[in-house]
Symmetry: C2
Subunit: 105 residues, 2 copies
């Protein structure tokens, strides 16, 4: 059972797209931040202010990364990186559990 | 910004009702456990093994507690307690953010 230890968790959820995407902020002692989130099936476009490393813990989705023309499909587990100050699109087919790391550059 | 400090968080979400209810486990140094969760609109029945204190952080729902005939309505924030080894029903009208505390007796 993978877990984050010695962290802080913000109680209130982040709610996007009418609740179809929600997440909780996890704060680490070194000042870094991750979110643990759920995406319901749907189509979404997100903006990344910081560089983001999106780890898919479970789910089925495809992602169109900035500057790409081919969609990346993830079925089960997977990871992709989003450059800072870009947008990316997601088509989520099944309930998707994710962990997003925000990387200050 | 209310947060839990010095805790562990299980990465993988708990997923119920096809993802319409999801939660993350937060573990405290004293051995106690809470979950932070999201309920999408819908009707649900839950079983409580331990005594549960359900704090609604935001949302609109009504709850039928065990042995009751009148529904308790919560719009915004609220709290209700569920005895151990009982079932309770929820009708969730809007996306609901909650914190559930499990009380060993």
């Amino acid at each position: 059972m993978s877990q984050f230890d010695n962290v802080s968790v913000v109680r209130q959820a982040n709610v996007y797209f009418g609740g179809n995407v929600t997440s909780r902020v996890v704060l680490f002692a070194d000042g870094t931040k991750k979110t643990l989130g759920i995406m319901m099936p749907g189509e979404y476009e997100f903006g990344a202010d910081d560089k983001e490393v999106m780890e898919i813990l479970s789910g089925h989705l495809k992602v169109l990364l900035p500057g790409k023309t081919e969609w990346l499909e993830i079925n089960g587990i997977g990871v992709f990186t989003v450059p800072a100050n870009t947008k990316f699109k997601l088509v989520v087919t099944t309930v998707t559990d994710y962990c997003c790391s925000y990387i200050a550059e």
